[in-house]
């Protein structure tokens, strides 16, 4: 009997997995909203839109050095916000 990948993948999409994916999206959105606008801007342009440092610098009208420092600080703050939010979720459970 051949392994039906399509059937297997479809069977992985359950109401539970959809709910979990939705929770994570909400968690990430809330965490992004805690960032200052400049940090949020560079994270979105880099991680979601895939622009290079030079392109981000041109779009945001900031030096490349500022893109680099903002990105490293934004990532750090985002990880911190996500960790806090996950701790709160576990406490509620």
């Amino acid at each position: 009997m051949e392994f039906d990948e399509k059937l297997h993948l479809e069977s992985c999409v359950t109401p539970e997995t959809i709910a979990v994916a939705g929770d994570d999206r909400k968690c990430l959105t809330l965490a992004l909203e805690t960032l200052p606008p400049r940090f949020r801007e560079v994270i979105v342009l880099r991680e979601l839109e895939g622009y290079s440092y030079k392109e981000i610098a041109a779009i945001a009208a900031i030096p490349v050095g500022t893109v680099m420092s903002s990105l490293s600080r934004a990532r750090r703050q985002l990880c911190f916000a996500l960790a806090n939010s996950e701790r709160e979720t576990h406490r509620e459970m």
Binding site: L28, L32, I43, E55, A58
Partner: protein, 250 residues
């Protein structure tokens, strides 16, 4: 971030923004640095999580092209491939552990000479990095006092800053580097159009006579004197590097 080297280069490396030489150096660094390997895993995880969450509708390709053209970037640049995914860093961490175990069993006490040669090769890579415009910051001056003053407060050791312009080695300035986790001062000289970086850092090892080598077409000469280690790197003639060594060591 516990690693100074990672603090400086890690995010650029992760985003594929380092050029070939520094990226290759960071590849090698990750094999020896658990902190950086762990940080890369975290960044990778964050990126994957953000992308899978489908937080927004990505801009259509036509809009992205128009934005790039309007910004003056023309055709989309060749963005280097992102570093491999999570499994690569786990494999790197496992490889690191294996190397440490095998290295300890085969050679529990590595030779000091081997280590000196290996470090010199890392320094050649730092020299290459310093040649890239915009990547290094420092002081550009042929005034000994200005260059020495720039290093005050930045390094915890006394630097023998001298201009040897009368002997054909004109002081050009200086900058700071992190190599294998050590802070090194670098004095820059010009010898007939060839840039020479002299990397300097404190050591507890005894004095040594000069050791020479080459890597990627660049010559290096390394020596220790009075609790300081020096490594001069350049594409200049090796005899000229020897001359500079003699001038500095006097």
């Amino acid at each position: 971030m516990k690693c100074d080297f990672g603090d400086f280069f890690l995010h650029s490396y992760f985003d594929g923004e380092l050029s070939v030489g520094p990226a290759a150096e960071f590849d090698r660094h990750v094999l020896h640095c658990a902190d950086c390997a762990e940080e890369l895993v975290s960044l990778d995880f964050l990126r994957v999580r953000l992308q899978l969450a489908e937080l927004h509708e990505p801009a259509p390709a036509s809009l992205r092209r128009r934005i790039r053209v309007d910004l003056g970037f023309g055709a989309p640049p060749r963005v280097p491939a992102c570093p491999p995914l999570l499994w690569h860093w786990l494999a790197a961490a496992a490889t690191l552990l294996l190397i440490v175990i095998v290295g300890w069993r085969v050679n529990p006490e590595p030779s000091r000479d081997d280590y000196q040669a290996e470090l010199a090769e890392e320094i050649v890579d730092a020299h290459l990095r310093s040649l890239q415009p915009g990547l290094m910051t420092g002081i550009a001056s042929n005034d000994e006092h200005a260059v020495k003053g720039w290093f005050d407060g930045k390094v915890k050791f006394a630097l023998p800053v001298r201009d040897f312009g009368n002997d054909g080695f004109t002081l050009q300035g200086g900058h700071l580097n992190i190599v294998e986790g050590r802070t090194m001062a670098a004095l820059v000289y010009d010898q007939g159009g060839h840039l020479i970086n002299v990397f300097i850092w404190p050591t507890r090892e005894p004095d040594t006579s000069p050791r020479r080598g080459s890597r990627k077409g660049y010559q290096w000469v390394d020596w220790r004197r009075r609790k300081m280690e020096f490594c001069a790197v350049s594409d200049a003639d090796p005899l000229e590097l020897d001359r500079l060594h003699q001038l500095i060591a006097e």
